[in-house]
């Protein structure tokens, strides 16, 4: 008789906070349940308080991995983009979030890891490793990566230039990139304000694009960044 094979989870010897901080996180029933409840509450909140509307939801790919890129002006952005996805895809959607901001203090970590399902992106120290994590994530079919290529929340509401990381991820691959434009999030909850104001929010979702023929060099990377930036700007009504 063969003996049983036990496979303890990878984060067995870590306390809860460390388990939330690591990535990829081990699936956890309680956290999935809390995240689903939080998503329902967030969707209701957006609908009622912000009169949230989604335009172009049919442009989202039905299956396979894809990336959503959007302008970034507020903490509401990631929640708005997640609300555009069906609930069953919630736990496979990962907004890339600044490790130096969201994965340091415990309350922010709890929101980032439990509610938003964020991927810790070391935008200041380990950009290459972070991009490698994103690449592995996208290699699994069905994962959704949410990226704000400006790299930070806009201080003025204007859409800043896109950084090159996104281009390194998609150049020479057939991963669809969905450009999204978020309208009203700056007015609703700008950087530095404590609470969101009841302003109308709209999410415009554009047609997905892919860059399979682009080589991975600096020139083409700049081209992709500019192209995506323009695609987001074009969605502005």
């Amino acid at each position: 008789m063969n003996s049983w094979q036990y496979e303890p989870v990878a984060d067995l010897d870590q306390p809860l906070v460390e388990r939330l901080r690591r990535f990829p996180r081990e699936p956890d029933i309680t956290i999935y349940a809390l995240r689903s409840l939080a998503a329902l509450a967030a969707r209701a909140w957006l609908r009622v308080y912000h009169r949230f509307e989604i335009i172009g939801a049919e442009n989202l790919p039905k299956e396979g991995s894809f990336i959503m890129v959007a302008n970034h002006a507020s903490h509401l952005d990631a929640i708005c983009l997640l609300s555009a996805l069906p609930l069953r895809k919630l736990h496979r959607a990962f907004p890339a979030a600044a490790q130096d901001y969201f994965f340091v203090s415990v309350p922010r970590l709890a929101v980032a890891a439990v509610v938003v399902n964020a991927l810790p992106f070391a935008r200041k120290t380990h950009i290459r490793q972070s991009l490698e994590i994103c690449r592995q994530l996208l290699a699994n079919p069905g994962n959704i990566l949410i990226i704000f290529p400006e790299g930070t929340r806009s201080a003025t509401g204007e859409i800043g230039a896109f950084k090159g990381g996104i281009s390194l991820l998609v150049a020479g691959t057939s991963i669809p990139v969905v450009p999204c434009f978020l309208e009203g999030t700056f007015a609703a909850w700008p950087k530095g304000k404590r609470f969101p104001r009841p302003r109308r929010l709209r999410l415009h979702i554009g047609k997905p694009r892919a860059y399979p023929t682009h080589p991975t060099n600096k020139e083409s990377s700049e081209h992709i960044s500019i192209d995506l930036h323009q695609a987001v700007l074009d969605l502005m009504p």
């Binding site: 094979q5 303890p8 989870v9 010897d13």
Partner: protein, 317 residues
């Protein structure tokens, strides 16, 4: 059980003073060791600090009343089972884990509700609480049938059944004990005496430990520690007789035996599981103690055996 009842309960107040006093004395002793004798007490200090949190939480829940107490012990049981499932790998099978969670919730509900019919009086549906494992096991066996799966299912079902009976049902006798007439005395004594038994085993083992108790299972536990703890546990019911003033000498001896032997057994049987899997701790949720299961393991045997001993001599409710 209610905050007012706890406030006016002589037993609860005495336990409150004893626990506070012991924690203060232990803190002073540690401080003396650290500063007076310049000993390295950092690891014991972490363990002690965790006690400073755990003791008020347990006392607070029992103070708050019957419902919070039942909820608290069921939550501990669910968290303990979760650690067991994560350690064995059963946790990847969410269906089976979900059924065991449901079973633990059912234990809580049967502890909360009244007996719906029949002659028994009092809170808690005793009859169904006791036969719940039959129905939960049936439900666990049902999972692979519903999902039409075979591979590895025997292992998953066995682990789930063990986990439910052991960490769910046996441990949750503590929750049902909240329905006892003498709930404060029973609950506080069982938890207090079992933890004292653990601490005594650790201390005697540290001071005099030479001969390993079960060398293959837990190399750190020694005969000296076990015998020292057993002696403490046999004496404790007489010292704490105010917890159950109606107990005669036989019941007091049984109480000592149950805590003294059951505590060690609980500890060792979790060690068997850990050793077979090849891990040191069941989790890392309590700094200095390991996982929740590492802390509640000795209660698992003591709770049901004490419960039925007390129920045999005196009506529980």
């Amino acid at each position: 059980m209610s905050p007012q009842a706890a406030y006016h309960s002589e037993i609860f107040r005495l336990y409150f003073y004893i626990v506070a006093g012991l924690l203060a004395v232990a803190g002073l002793a540690l401080a003396f060791l650290a500063w007076g004798l310049k000993k390295d007490v950092r690891s014991i200090w972490t363990t002690y600090k965790a006690w400073l949190v755990m003791a008020p939480v347990i006392l607070g829940c029992i103070f708050a009343g019957r419902v919070p107490t039942i909820f608290f012990f069921c939550l501990l049981s669910a968290l303990g089972f979760k650690e067991f499932a994560r350690a064995t790998g059963l946790y990847r099978d969410w269906w089976t884990v979900g059924v065991v969670y449901l079973g633990i919730a059912a234990l809580g509900i049967t502890s909360l509700v009244h007996q719906p019919f029949g002659e028994e009086q009092g809170n808690g549906w005793y009859g169904y609480f006791i036969v719940l494992p039959v129905h939960v096991i049936a439900l666990i066996l049902f999972v692979p049938i519903v999902r039409n799966r075979v591979a590895g299912e025997l292992q998953n079902m066995s682990l789930a059944i063990l986990g439910f009976i052991y960490i769910g049902w046996m441990f949750c006798h503590l929750a049902f004990m909240a329905n006892a007439m003498n709930a404060y005395g029973y609950l506080l004594y069982v938890v207090f005496a079992t933890e004292v038994n653990d601490v005594a085993a650790f201390t005697f083992g540290k001071l005099f430990g030479k001969h390993p108790l079960r060398s293959n299972i837990s190399p750190k536990k020694t005969w000296e520690g076990a015998i020292g703890a057993f002696a403490v546990s046999m004496a404790l019911p007489w010292l704490m007789r105010f917890s159950f003033p109606f107990f005669g000498p036989w019941e007091l001896i049984f109480t000592g035996l149950i805590v003294g032997i059951g505590g060690q057994l609980g500890d060792l049987s979790i060690s068997v599981i850990k050793r077979d899997i090849g891990i040191k701790d069941m989790g890392a949720n309590i700094p200095g103690h390991g996982g929740i299961l590492d802390r509640i393991d000795s209660l698992i045997f003591v709770a049901p055996i004490f419960f039925h001993m007390a129920g045999f001599f005196y009506n529980m409710r």
